[in-house]
């Protein structure tokens, strides 16, 4: 029972963070800020959802697989964000600054 409540909270928060990230990608003004929004979806949202699912799975091979997925995401998504930002900076894309 407690596990069910805990996992549904985690899943809901994860889904909410995913939606927030999605809104961010649409609404943020330039490339670098959008990258920041993707970061939320990639790491915290994915972590919450995977944790929620792992709680549902209990101590099983499925939980182990979820853990492996998390480790994989933990390494690849920051690298992807970094590679994107690096490439953008390298090709001369300037961040959009407040112009008043």
């Amino acid at each position: 029972m407690i596990i069910d409540i805990l996992s549904s909270i985690l899943l809901l928060v994860g889904a909410a963070l995913g939606i927030v990230g999605g809104i961010g990608i649409h609404r943020f003004p330039d490339f670098y800020t959008r990258l920041h929004a993707i970061g939320i979806t990639d790491t915290l949202s994915a972590l919450m959802i995977l944790l929620g699912l792992a709680l549902q799975a209990g101590w099983s091979i499925a939980a182990f697989k979820l853990a492996m997925i998390f480790v994989f995401l933990f390494f690849t998504s920051p690298t992807a964000s970094h590679a994107l930002a690096y490439a953008a900076q390298h090709s001369g894309l300037k961040p959009k600054l407040d112009q008043k």
């Binding site: 390494f75 690298t79 970094h82 590679a83």
Partner: protein
């Protein structure tokens, strides 16, 4: 309405929407990115249809490698697509009409298939003979035993395609040096991909996996290497590369001919040996598929390709 149908309907709707967006996007770059997303979604649909083999192949080859090849082509080309703007109204109407007719046809066929009289499906036949095929995964049994002929021809197609790539010309330069973070990732991602490929190859005998999936995974390792600035992308040069490219087709053909000589039909495995023979063919096919895909990504001959022997060298100089 059945509520469990809702996610599937959503998936199907998104698939159609994405396909439409891919075809309709004016920007080629956006089209390619949407195409990759389309491939990933299609992989999920295959998984929902209980076809994990196809899901694996679609994710690795359809979304991953095709997407990478399209992105490379985009980089080499001019980038913009000016011609699309000049499409005439008549043309557009014809395309719309064609799509409508095709949709009706496909829908009709689907209707027929769903509501047809139950007949003996091929899947039942494949499962019935599974014990004699040497493997316990029906998909692998179909690919490499019942229909080995088809798979042989598929390998020939891959070989022909890569020969075409080689004829086109020299390879393009790799990407520039990536950042240190990506380097760190490459150092553990590439070994992981190689191990995964080996696992997929081995597990193909009794679970989803097999030569094409393993080959695509190996090729992904090659592409990651190439993106990290290793221009050879893990491929050898010269004679070894040539052997690698023809290994799959060659081993397949030789084994088939050997069976003909020893009394059976072409590619009719002796029952006791079929398991090991299939494994041998799959190993060779994996190496060839991976080499072919990476070479296609590299986009042509490398400098080392011609340095096989003096004769070739002279021929190249004189031409």
């Amino acid at each position: 309405m059945n509520l469990t149908l809702l996610p599937d309907l959503l998936l199907a709707g998104m698939l159609i929407g994405l396909a439409w967006a891919v075809l309709n996007s004016d920007d080629l770059r956006r089209g390619v990115v949407l195409f990759i997303a389309f491939g990933l979604l299609l992989a999920i649909v295959w998984a929902r249809l209980l076809a994990p083999d196809l899901a694996l192949a679609e994710a690795a080859i359809g979304a991953g490698l095709s997407g990478a090849l399209l992105l490379v082509a985009l980089r080499d080309g001019s980038g913009g697509d000016q011609r699309s703007a000049k499409r005439s109204t008549l043309n557009r109407w014809l395309i719309d009409l064609f799509v409508l007719v095709m949709t009706c046809l496909i829908g009709w066929v689907l209707w027929l298939t769903i509501y047809a009289e139950p007949v003996e499906r091929l899947a039942q036949l494949a499962n019935a003979m599974l014990e004699r095929s040497g493997v316990s995964n029906p998909v692998t049994a179909v690919l490499l035993n019942y229909r080995a002929y088809d798979t042989l021809l598929e390998l020939v197609v891959v070989l022909a395609a890569v020969l075409g790539v080689l004829v086109v010309g020299r390879e393009r330069r790799g990407y520039r040096e990536p950042g240190p973070v990506f380097h760190g990732l490459v150092h553990w991602l590439v070994p992981l991909l190689i191990v995964t490929a080996g696992y997929l190859l081995w597990v193909g005998a009794h679970a989803p996996g097999g030569a094409f999936q393993a080959g695509a995974t190996l090729a992904a390792a090659g592409i990651v290497l190439r993106l990290a600035g290793y221009d050879a992308a893990g491929l050898p040069d010269g004679r070894l590369l040539r052997w690698l490219l023809v290994a799959g087709t060659g081993v397949f053909l030789l084994l088939g001919l050997g069976m003909t000589v020893s009394g059976g039909g072409f590619l009719q495995y002796p029952e006791a040996w079929s398991g090991s023979l299939i494994l041998v063919i799959e190993v060779a096919a994996t190496a060839s598929i991976a080499a072919a895909l990476v070479l296609a990504y590299r986009g042509g001959r490398s400098d080392g390709w011609l340095l096989v022997d003096e004769k070739d060298k002279n021929r190249e100089i004189s031409s």
